[in-house]
Symmetry: C2
Subunit: 627 residues, 2 copies
């Protein structure tokens, strides 16, 4: 089954996304407008992305001393994507957006991730601009966010440093006020930044006229020292090229909150800011996206006679991490979706291969006659197992990401109670949305290789690249370990455990609905048991109130939690299949994929939860000298 | 803990390999001679292999139209290895060997797999020559096997064809008698071969003076048609360069079995045989080893005025597959060991990284003060978990491979009963020795990447390459699916289930020994349960005597079987630790690794066995149209 019908089933028959057009914000929309967006994105992905996926893997970004060189195909894909308007798809009409539900935007973007994940579709640019809409001043929005939404400029998030990856409290980039008048700049309080940033995706390239870096840095205290910990972190806009802003009116430039909001501004590019490429990271996969080490204020591009790169404060001093988390959560759902779509690409490729490759004969008497022709490998039970596993893992992962996207819409346009519930559920589900597909859709990619046999490990077939590309997803935007500590150490505890309770209520509602269908009774029962196990393990892990004990097995806990969540969504999907009609092959396939998940995957949670619930100390107590 | 002490513990304190020198065949040996061999190999691996592991990944084999070009380092490593005498380490003195136990040979070769798996250490050459020792004529041995053992020539196994990978019965390479006098050639009945062979490792290169291809082909019947199925397959020696053999005595050349065995022969290279390189496979990993598509008899190198490549029959017609299996079993243990050593390399690399990389602070109150310096990541429980998992998986895998190697020695030099038991145990364990490390030491490599964080996916660190290299091991020399069908479809059933019974007896003996140690009682109990589960699942899978039902879940069955086997070996190792003394850090580490396996890994078997025992039909029944 190709991807599009699967996506449409989940959007319309399961999540009923077209009902969103009943809300005032989406009143101009309908299934027709949603489908038109999907059509457009599917077409651009097919024409401008998919044919060049291997190209961007082979022709890695390189630095010629002045510029980063990317394949021509990447420029063309970027231009086509920007021209589609997708960068501002979810934005309001009054800033040039389509006012599209986030769910539909995410669904449409999935085509690009499937076609060529590392050419990319502007996830960071959109996240960057969204952050500025939320936390920036009027002028910061106009100058930076709007030029990002239009595709004229692109954006980065510059958090990590060589010594501060997972540990953001150790950020050492320094921001000092730029002159006595630093607070009077129309673009925001002006600082000079010095420091090194690592792992910055799309940190340098020629795809756009300018690059808007959102940079975490610390403002020294009165004693000249940086404040330790995350509390000392502030957020800055550091453009690659400085900007000159002109207002058509004489007098002071517009800038203050809500003031002169409708005054148009003219932006031109000025001098080069002191942001210098220090190196490109050469990666295992995801090679089409430039990954950079950037030096801020090293002096390569001295600017306005002072030392340091010029940056403009966003929000208030020392509240940078709070602002940045707004962007990180979106990025985490984006990474999860990318992982799912790489899995889906491998599934389609291996399904196609299995349908066409003759090899071997059936097990048993029917296969004993070697004078009979070979059968296609899709007829072997073990190959079917590997295909069904991929389908179950990837479509389950897709359901998870779309469900989270739907919660984002609920948070923005639901009533107060629904919005708050959605917020809380998103808190609990975001670590799963990020981590689960990065592990299991990677496993799906490994199965896609396996289905191809020896051809799978040659570079003549696409599946080995999907597997390599997908391996980054368990690391970037917060490792598995970080997600697990967030889930068990924070999310299931916050607000008195209300998030987990809310999730349990949703699961129970699905169980109740599924029990109407005799064919789902076994699965409904299994989900109920799994939920109880997860809840019991959560309590047991924290029963000594000792974070060291509780969190020592946070990753196995998260693995089990993720499997329980996906099992829940599969049951919910299966119930929707039974409502929509179950006799066509696609419906049958969904029911088989759900059953596969319950029979082959869900039973794995016992082993994971056991160590979490018993606070197994084996790993934590292992003496270093004994390794 | 570096690798060498781990290896020595398993060899001497666990397997007591030095006791083999009590047997006549190994009488000249002692722990000193064994250690000397290990020293030599460790040194060559350190000097000639390890520094060039990335080189052979980057400088892939290429064909300039005449020759395959390999890096200089590969030639130097190959020469150093051949000069060490390791190619004939296990051979008898009278053919120039060291008469070393296979266990010690395998242990010594492990250093090369760890240092650079794809430079390789002649596994196929040795396997090829061993096959000829077993099945070749006296002259075939002298001419081909001895020149392989000396390192002057190298060997391949040419089984697969583009349309016949896992399904060898579909081999279509054709062998017809070469003239009326075809049976009078001193080198063996002479045939002309035409056909295409795929996935031939080291199929073309300039590392050795000649390449001895062992080729599966079919001799047509009287009607000119090939016999369908594996029964029609015969085995041929097809040298890249034809050989001229001279005896110092006039008269007929020596050739018949046992006849003129001591007459020395002089071998010179003659014309190029019609074996042509049709293409190189460009792979995901393991790139240092040339992987070829070879055309036999396409006419590029016409030879002696006839069509077809010249080949000499080995053994009797139509019994080729039987001969070849002799080589395939050795190759499967070799692949398993390679997978283990890649895992071990990743473990050492990530352990080193974790010991030196500062990042983050402890969980709980102690970590709340950001003005304190960061701790090394080995102090985090989750990093310890990932390191201990690697240790447990890789050292468990090493124990498995060494145990199998020790069985090979038992089969060759034990008394009749011991030898037969060893043969039967090897039948059952070979699919596990091949498959288990290829899955779980690959998982270990993924954890090694994860420990490195973002650095893990850059090509500045070695772990991403280990992961890529290891991905081939689940495919080449028989896929997971093939191994699983072999295990559940043949090995646990053969000779009335005697192999599985024997394995159960060995496990019970370990359980009985472990029960003397209170600290191992929990593990002994768990192993007993696991064994019962595996036995019950075996019976249940076959309870309907329907291969289609029994084998539909052969891979999950094999996963569980493998985990039970490795749990058994860990318990056996732990018991040996307690006997040898347990207070030093290395001993503690082994006990922790064993405990890790029992707490975190063994409980996974329930989920796998459940589908095997219930003959779950979900995958087999999935309609093709529903995918």
């Amino acid at each position: 089954m190709p991807y599009r019908p699967t996506l449409e089933f989940l959007l319309y028959d399961w999540l009923h996304v077209e009902q969103l057009s009943g809300r005032p914000h989406f009143a101009d929309h309908s299934r027709e407008t949603f489908d038109a967006v999907l059509d457009t994105c599917e077409r651009i992905a097919r024409e401008k992305y998919a044919p060049f996926n291997r190209t961007v893997d082979i022709e890695e970004p390189r630095f010629d001393g002045e510029k980063v060189i990317l394949p021509k195909a990447t420029h063309e894909a970027h231009d086509a994507y920007a021209a589609s308007g997708m960068l501002s798809a979810a934005q309001d009409y009054d800033i040039g957006g389509m006012q599209l539900p986030y769910t539909v935007e995410a669904a449409a973007n999935s085509f690009f991730a499937m076609a060529s994940v590392s050419i990319g579709s502007g996830m960071l640019t959109v996240g960057n601009a969204n952050l500025l809409l939320e936390h920036g001043t009027e002028l910061q929005r106009k100058v930076f966010a709007l030029n990002e939404f239009s595709g004229r400029w692109s954006g980065t998030m510059a958090l990590s440093e060589p010594q501060a990856g997972s540990s953001l409290s150790d950020v050492a980039t320094r921001a000092v006020p730029d002159g006595d008048d630093f607070e009077s700049d129309a673009l925001g309080p002006r600082y000079r930044l010095t420091g090194n940033k690592m792992w910055i995706s799309a940190g340098e390239h020629e795809l756009a006229e300018n690059i808007v870096h959102l940079v975490l840095a610390k403002i020294p205290g009165p004693d000249g020292r940086l404040i330790p910990g995350t509390k000392g972190i502030s957020l800055f806009i550091v453009p690659k090229w400085l900007v000159e802003v002109e207002s058509p009116h004489p007098g002071p430039l517009p800038g203050g909150e809500g003031e002169n909001g409708s005054v148009p501004v003219t932006v031109t590019l000025g001098a080069r800011n002191d942001v210098a490429l220090a190196g490109l990271n050469h990666k295992l996969g995801w090679r089409g996206t430039t990954n950079t080490l950037l030096n801020f204020g090293e002096g390569r591009y001295p600017v306005r006679g002072g030392a340091g790169a010029i940056g403009y404060l966003v929000g208030r001093p020392h509240e940078g991490l709070h602002c940045m988390f707004h962007m990180m959560n979106e990025a985490r759902i984006g990474v999860g979706t990318a992982a799912v779509m790489l899995g889906m690409a491998g599934y389609e490729a291996s399904l196609d291969y299995a349908r066409n490759r003759p090899q071997g004969r059936p097990v048993g008497p029917a296969g004993k006659d070697p004078s009979q022709p070979q059968v296609r490998i899709i007829e072997h039970a073990d190959v079917k197992r590997m295909l069904l596993a991929q389908k179950s893992l990837c479509e389950g992962g897709l359901a998870l990401e779309l469900y989270c996207a739907r919660l984002v819409d609920e948070q923005h346009t639901g009533n107060a109670q629904e919005a708050d519930d959605a917020r809380l559920l998103l808190e609990v589900l975001t670590p799963i949305a990020k981590s689960w597909p990065s592990e299991w859709c990677l496993e799906a990619n490994s199965l896609a290789i396996q289905v191809h046999g020896g051809y799978g490990y040659t570079r003549d077939f696409p599946v080995e690249q999907y597997w390599r590309d997908n391996r980054l997803n368990m690391i970037h935007e917060g490792t598995h370990g970080i997600q697990a500590a967030d889930l068990l150490g924070r999310k299931v505890l916050m607000e008195g455990g209300k998030g987990l309770d809310l999730l349990a209520q949703r699961m129970q509602a699905t169980i109740a609905r599924a029990q109407h269908h005799p064919s789902l009774a076994e699965q409904a029962h299994a989900l109920g048991e799994a939920l109880q196990q997860v809840q019991a393990a959560t309590r047991a892990a924290w029963s000594t109130a000792n974070p060291g004990e509780a969190l020592a097995n946070a990753v196995p806990y998260m693995q089990a939690f993720g499997h329980a969540v996906v099992a829940w969504l599969w049951l919910d999907v299966a119930a929707a299949v039974l409502v929509a009609g179950q006799d066509d092959p696609a419906s049958q396939g969904r029911l088989y994929a759900a059953r596969y998940f319950y029979r082959y995957e869900l039973p794995k949670i016992g082993a994971w939860l056991q160590v979490a619930a018993s606070r197994d100390p084996t790993c934590a107590q292992m003496p270093e000298a004994a390794f």
